[in-house]
């Protein structure tokens, strides 16, 4: 046991010691989680509602207390102490239990939502107020998802408070999730307008540019439906290339996107678990581009089909949307993407499965001003950058040769630059000329990883 008497003699709290307040926070959180299970019992509606809301409040309060106290005690700076010594963040028992719990939640949500009936009914009053209709399992999920981003966003802001880039970026993902992916779509529902997510675009929200969605929105009374088509088409086909040209794919993946938002906040404790091997990179390339190609091809075929009055595909198009939705939407992005956070890291979906990431990545690699610059010969090859890259990029490979890092998968979270102990890396939007130019202060090895 570390002796506190000697350290207390000079009035000091060692930040890595779990104190009473932190333990109280964790206890409150556990009690809150247990309360969330209770509405499943056959009890009356008012009690159910009371239990669910006290569960939500207690677990938020408990974790908030824990994080607040943890970071109040620590100096601002990189705090990855013990990440690979604690089981919860290094695939230990706690990590496996968490993964099983999360995966189980997704399985219930997608295939057995009736098991959540008690919790869903407890949200009815809230749902009526928010969107003018009774709750369903997607409202429950959306609410938990948004709360996770908000709470873990506060944690990220505390943890990275020494870095304005990380703080502002975290505020951005919290804002877009709460506003554009939660409050606005549900308010639209309340106003009897289509539930529309202004922060998701084709090809991630692939059906937004399918003929079926377009004709449905056009037939909506009022101008809003037309505006929605306009919005999604213009951003997907014009806005994305322009914004990516100036800022790289980060403007979306680590600033706006809801999947990215969850990865950057709730997934932050797990970012170091991504696989950095060359083999993983080969898998990434082999999966993500075919997914994009599949979506592009399907969209084109559906339009062709629609123009030909259904002569090409007949009723196949519905079947497609369902199959794709099941395999990619449910299994990949949900069960594996989030359920496996504590085992495979926070960006499995973004890295291996997201068609939007593939599209943005191609633009970032070939038509962008964005790069991560290496500061001359200052790299000491320590490996913090690669370890904490959630996308599994071996950042050090480039840095130790003095090369700028230009990788289609880079989401621009900036964590490599934040954890670098020598300040070697910097995210920059420079001119495209000389973008690949390595420093003259190190001789590059001229050895490639992937041809």
């Amino acid at each position: 046991m570390p002796t506190s008497d000697q350290s207390l003699a000079i009035g000091y709290n060692y930040q890595d010691q779990t104190d009473l307040l932190q333990k109280a926070g964790l206890t409150l959180f556990t009690v809150g989680l247990l309360l969330l299970l209770l509405p499943s019992l056959p009890i009356e509606a008012a009690l159910r509602q009371g239990l669910l809301w006290s569960g939500i409040c207690l677990s938020l309060l408990g974790l908030g207390l824990y994080f607040g106290q943890t970071y109040r005690k620590s100096h601002p700076g990189v705090r990855n102490n013990g990440v690979w010594l604690r089981g919860s963040t290094s695939r230990g028992n706690i990590a496996w239990v968490t993964a099983v719990g999360l995966t189980g939640f997704y399985i219930i949500l997608y295939w057995f939502p009736f098991l959540l009936e008690g919790q869903i009914r407890a949200l009815d009053t809230f749902s009526q107020w928010l969107r003018g209709k009774p709750a369903d399992h997607w409202l429950l999920y959306g609410t938990f998802y948004t709360l996770a981003i908000l709470l873990m966003g506060v944690r990220a802001m505390l943890k990275y408070r020494h870095s304005p880039y990380q703080v502002i970026r975290t505020i951005s993902v919290m804002f877009f999730q709460l506003g554009l992916a939660y409050l606005i779509p549900y308010t639209l529902q309340k106003l009897n307008e289509p539930e529309f997510y202004f922060s998701y675009f084709w090809p991630l929200k692939y059906d937004y540019l399918f003929p079926g969605t377009v004709s449905y929105l056009i037939n909506e009374p009022g101008a809003l439906g037309v505006f929605m088509i306009f919005w999604t088409a213009v951003i997907s086909l014009v806005g994305v290339p322009i914004l990516t040209y100036f800022f790289g794919k980060r403007w979306y993946c680590s600033w706006v996107c809801g999947c990215g938002g969850l990865a950057e906040t709730a997934g932050d404790p797990y970012r170091q678990l991504s696989n950095k091997s060359r083999a993983a990179w080969q898998w990434e390339v082999a999966i993500i581009y075919p997914v994009l190609g599949f979506i592009v091809l399907t969209t084109l075929l559906l339009w062709l089909n629609s123009i030909m009055g259904g002569g090409l595909l007949g009723s196949l198009s519905n079947g497609f949307a369902q199959t794709y939705g099941f395999f990619i939407g449910a299994i990949f992005s949900g069960v594996i993407g989030v359920g496996f956070y504590p085992i495979m890291g926070s960006r499995v979906w973004c890295r291996f499965g997201c068609p939007m990431a593939a599209y943005l990545g191609l633009l970032q690699k070939h038509f962008s001003r964005f790069r991560i610059t290496t500061n001359g010969g200052q790299c000491i090859s320590c490996g913090n950058c690669s370890t904490y890259c959630e996308m599994g990029i071996d950042v050090r490979w480039y840095a130790q040769q003095g090369q700028p890092i230009i990788r289609s998968s880079c989401v621009g979270c900036g964590m490599c630059a934040t954890v670098c102990p020598r300040g070697v890396l910097n995210l920059e939007n420079g001119p495209r000329e000389g973008r690949y130019q390595p420093t003259t202060l190190i001789s590059p090895e001229n050895l490639r990883i992937l041809d």
Binding site: P2, T3, Q6, S7, I10, Y12, Y14, D16, Q17, H75, P76, G77, V78, N80, N81, G82, V83, W84, L85, R86, S90, H162, S163, P164, Y165, I168, S277, R278, T373, N375, G376, G377, Q378, I380, S381, C382, G383, N384, S386, T387, R396, W397, Q400, G414, A417, T418, V419, P421, R422, G423, N426, L427, T439, T440, L441, I442, S443, E445, N446, L447
Partner: protein, 430 residues
Amino acid sequence: MQVVIVGNGVTGVTAAITIRKLNPVALITLISSESTHFFSRTALMYLYMGHMQYRHIKPYEDWFWTEHKLNLMQASVASVDFSAKEVVLSSQVRVPYDKLLLATGSIPRALEIPGENLAGVQGFYSLPDLENLEKYSQQIKRAVIVGGGLIGIELAEMFYTRCIPVTFLVRENYYWGNVLPPEEGNLIQEHIREHGVDLRLNTTLQEIKGDSDGKVKAIVTGQGEEIPTDLVGVAVGVRPNVSFLKGSPLKLNRGILVNPYLETNLPDVYAAGDCAEIVPDKDKNTYIEQLWYTGRMQGETVAHSICNRRTAYSRGIWFNSAKFFDIEYQTYGKVPVKPDSETQTLVWQHPKRKKLLRINYHQPTGKVLGFNLLGIRYRHEVCENWIREEKPISYVLKHLREANFDPEFYRRYEKEIIQAFSRQLSAVIP
């Protein structure tokens, strides 16, 4: 051509990779007793702190070595038979070479005081040192660190993350006083103390006392104070790891003596990195460089010499960096502890936050000489160019923004810096 490299640190590995680049068919063998694969020595502290695991600090995946036909051998070298051109392993196996590179690195310097060999007294340099540290720092009440340099503060940070109270003995009258000017040293030592470290300046270590089991139990300072402790981290510098070469025809002094081409006195035998003591052409003093960067640059240079493209080692404009707990440090060019009479120094320090910029320039000509930075990042290329091109201080101040390498959204301090420097400048130029 059979090239044998003793040592798989940054020098040996950079040399091996560079030789492979210059010569696709050479047989290259790297021998190390410490580990099969190359790892980043500078990252050892992060293993103890739990930021990374051993596999993360290997800069190359294991396929790299086979794909580039770099033969790795984990073995301890007992001696070198220079006349037979063979490296002799402790297993008595002999490894023949056409060209030999000695890149054996350093070992921690000894204190030469009583009690130095007690269990729990150790340096922090190698993988075995890390294992010992892990073993001897379990459940301890206090650790004492001796030596106010980079390894000393690393150890302090490491113990801090394990909640181990630390007493830190520094011989100088402020932290790293033999390298940093006082403002920098004071700023850092204030930061050290904020982390609860019991920092003792002007303090040396007199004696280490052990218990009946041969384990350390206390230290006695130069002032005669006895401090109970369970572990003593010795961080008083390193010396070349060359003892296995003593008594051979190879010329040694403190390190292996080499000319600027990194050639030793024996044909086809080269030395580079921490273990090499370079004898400059003119009658300047010999020098040993013990940094990651210099190791890498020497490795690259010696590879050219080995591949018959004799290249003299020139490290260019000096640079270095470090991190003291949360404060990043960069230096470019010449920033001595005490500037000579012709050097003027401008210092800006943030009134509250831990940020500092020092620029030295040559008073008669105005040309810029060097930069010290704490808590601010500057571009290596820009600083290097300004120093090499001898840009006047007025030019540097006008273009200061171009040097900044801080991340997006970080507050910039050029305005405050220029104002502060203008006041200091007008004081020296009436």
